[in-house]
Amino acid sequence: MTAQSETPAIRQAVIIGGNRIPFARSNGAYANASNQDMFTAAIDGLVARFGLQGQRLGAVAGGAVLKHSKDFNLVRECVLGSSLSPETPAYDVQMACATGMEAIGSLANKIKLGQIDSAIGGGVDTTSDAPIAVSEPLRLMLLELTRARSTGAKLKAMSKFRPSFLAPNAPGTGEPRTGLSMGNHQALTTKAWNITREAQDELALASHKNLAAAYDRHFFDDLITPFAGVSRDTNLRGDSTIEKLASLKPAFGKNLGEDATMTAGNSTPLTDGASVVLLGSEDYAMANDLPMLANFVDFEAAAVDFVHGAEGLLMAPAYAVARMLKRNNLTLQDFDYYEIHEAFAGTVLSTLAAWEDAEFCKNKLGLDAPLGAIDRSKLNVNGSSLAAGHPFAATGGRIVATLAKMLHEKGSGRGLISVCAAGGQGVVAILEAR
């Protein structure tokens, strides 16, 4: 008698709004704030903005790239400490700098499938309150000590101690398989695509000018809630000049000599911060009188083999975009805004160069014609990571909320998001105005 169960029709996943705390340079304003403090504050600001107090949402997902082992249930703990209903399920996601995008994208999928009606996705990171591990020999010694039962065995274990064991083991941005830092990886890519120092500095300057202008016209009034006495991103230098940027010494790829073009000015600094995005079905938004800024149309992840040198570490989004465009029957020019995460100015410019390059598009992406150039006036128009900073897992939420608001203000069109990540990965997405 049982009818065959039917897959429910796919419905829209809508971006209702977002909230983040201002991003702060590492070991600065948020030096004493934990990931839990910051992510809870971001959630509570969102709850206050949209009146979600006591609501049981479908899910809250997010994560941090640098995480203490005690934070094994970070997001759930944040929900419990927030004004949301304690009956809201939550889970941690971890995908390096694409953590926020992956969390938001997979929540959108659940909404589209009708599994949940509402969700908060986002991310948080602190390099100030980073976990510091004990050295490997000390860890092994301590484990042996725990296993030892007799006094003799305990003494034997302890006798292995050497003062050198005390050197702490702080997390770095180095790739485990190459030993190269992210910046030094990008330096190789930047050189391979012949990206000039001037072009990188110009992109960095535009990021600062655009972000400062967005603040000045109150764009962030309903996207940011102050935290710990900070109400603007502390990395923002609205008065920066091309001369100042040109005067900085190279910070990465120093072994490249004359070709070393990446400076502290055209690379993102280590940053602390948190961001969240509120998603829902159309029914949920309408039933709760909430705004609908944009549809979360699609997202795609890619990964490249940077270990063997087949591709640059941060070039995965170039591949992901090609696949996502094909699936959605769109061209690269079918967008009104492009939000390309500025891990480094060189990353953005290398990606754009690759899309314009016939050989790359043919050999690497398998396309008959290059994806082509984009209208640069549509790129990161309200600033991006070079100005705002880049608290790894929090960048996705910042970009999604910002782009959704821009599209809603425009009232029509599409936006493309591209976020690169450690491990040769990347996540890209399409939003559509409402």
């Binding site: 206050a48 009146g51 109150h218 809630t225 102050p226 009188d289």
Partner: protein, 445 residues
């Protein structure tokens, strides 16, 4: 922030010490909490008014123990003085002296509330003299009461009965713990419009209210009080105060709107938020304000202009937007200050803005009444807030002692209670007026 002296003379061995030494002992005021009795004892209704019986019936309907004559030695919770029919100075003697006889029986936290008519230029000299005399006499009585008891009055405009909705609502407010820090004041009721709430514990049920400057202090107290009384609350403050604002919003299950109210489009943004998110806008509380104190001789343009811009010009601009939007029944309450009435050294700019609010409210009343609403102001005296905590300790302590009636500063809650009352539909007959919440003092911001 807390008044340590008040705590010390009211508890433990320091209470007895203060008694022995004969130190002034300010009382802990009777403040409203949901479920509290309206009056802490029987109500003595004095005076010869044609409306005495009708009013007595209403009070009985509220479950009060109403007496028409002083009886025995028992405690009295409140004395209601019906002086609305007094037409000559000679007629004041009997009811005032009767009240005087009953004062010893007035319980701590008790109330004296008079009903009278306004003294107008068109009255005969004798009538005007009698009516104006009530004003001075009741204020003086307020200064004689101890134990946190207060004396206030309801002034009935022409053709307004003592049982008009707003007259009864004003009486209830003045009898209750909601008016703890209102002393020596008169609420004038000019029309019989308005309706008493179905539930006196939730007089703002179903209303959507916006409170500016709500991140802290009096604004946060207003948000909490409106929420307690049943309203859905939108809290507004400058983006830089957003973290404190979010906490208030989450406390009152409302929504936070980060907005600089000096923006040209502030009124539009508020209307858009309230109507799109909550379906309508019923109440606006213009609370946001700043102080930039300096003696006028040392005043610079930045200090002067910023105070006027935030405290007054922003309200004028937003009110124009609210009027243009034609929001039906919109009730507004603006924050004035006793500085704007009596003046305060170092506050020529602030007093200009707060005196300005009083004038603005008076001149805006007709326009808001046209769409079924109204606008009033509340002028706080010395209120214990972060803002007054910045006053040097010595000045602050002296300021408290200068208050002959209640001998203490008020709390943000006391201001919030007056605002919640004026924001309610029951106060619709009160329009264009300014109510002081000052414990009969004139010190402080």
């Amino acid at each position: 922030m807390a008044d340590k002296y008040l705590e010390l003379v009211n508890s433990g061995f320091t209470k007895n010490l203060a008694k022995t030494l004969g130190l002034p002992r300010p009382s802990i005021l009777r403040r409203y909490a949901p479920g509290a009795p309206l009056v802490p004892g029987p109500v003595l209704l004095l005076g010869n008014s044609p409306q005495a019986q009708e009013l007595s019936d209403v009070l009985l309907g509220w479950g009060l123990d109403v007496r028409r004559h002083a009886v025995g030695e028992g405690k009295v919770g409140a004395i209601v003085l019906l002086l609305d029919a007094v037409a000559t100075p000679g007629q004041l003697s009997e009811p005032m002296l009767a009240a005087g006889h009953a004062l010893r029986q007035l319980t701590p936290g008790g109330r004296v509330v008079s009903f009278s008519r306004p003294a107008l230029a068109t009255d005969t000299p004798a009538v005007a003299a009698a009516r104006q005399g009530i004003d001075g006499s009741v204020r003086s009585l307020g200064r004689e009461l101890r134990g946190g008891a207060t004396a206030n009055g309801v002034v009935l405009g022409e053709r307004v009965d003592a049982t008009a909705p707003s007259a009864l609502a004003a009486l209830r407010f003045l009898l209750s713990g909601r008016s703890a820090y209102v002393d020596g004041q008169f609420l004038q009721v000019d029309s019989a419009t308005g309706a008493l709430p179905e539930d006196f514990e939730r007089p703002l049920a179903g209303k959507v209210a916006v409170v500016t400057g709500a991140a802290r202090g009096i604004g946060a107290a207003i948000a909490k009080t409106l929420y307690r009384d049943g309203a859905t609350v939108v809290v507004v403050d400058v983006p830089a105060a957003g973290d404190a604002l979010a906490k208030v919003a989450n406390l009152v299950s409302g929504t936070a709107l980060q907005l600089d109210i000096t923006r040209e489009d502030a009124g539009k943004v508020i209307i858009e938020h309230a109507t799109s998110r909550h379906g309508k806008l019923d109440i606006v509380i213009h609370n946001a304000g700043i102080t930039r104190d300096k003696l006028l001789a040392n005043m610079d343009a930045a200090r002067w202009n910023s105070v006027i811009a935030v405290n007054l010009e922003s309200q004028l601009r937003m009110n124009e937007e609210f009027l243009a939007a034609g929001l039906p029944g919109l009730r507004l309450v603006s924050l004035a200050s006793t500085s704007g009435i009596a003046g305060n050294r170092g506050q020529t700019n602030y007093a200009a803005s707060k005196g300005g609010v009083i004038g603005m409210v008076r001149a805006s009343a007709a326009a808001f009444a046209a769409s079924g609403g109204g606008i009033n102001a509340v002028a706080p005296g010395f209120i214990e807030t972060e803002m007054t905590a910045k006053i040097p300790v010595a000045t602050r302590t002296v300021a408290r002692m200068l208050m002959p009636s209640l001998m203490q500063g008020g709390l943000p809650l006391d201001v919030a209670e007056a605002i919640a009352f004026l924001a309610s539909d029951a106060a619709a007959g009160i329009n264009g007026r300014t109510l002081r919440v000052c414990g009969q003092s004139l010190v402080g911001a």
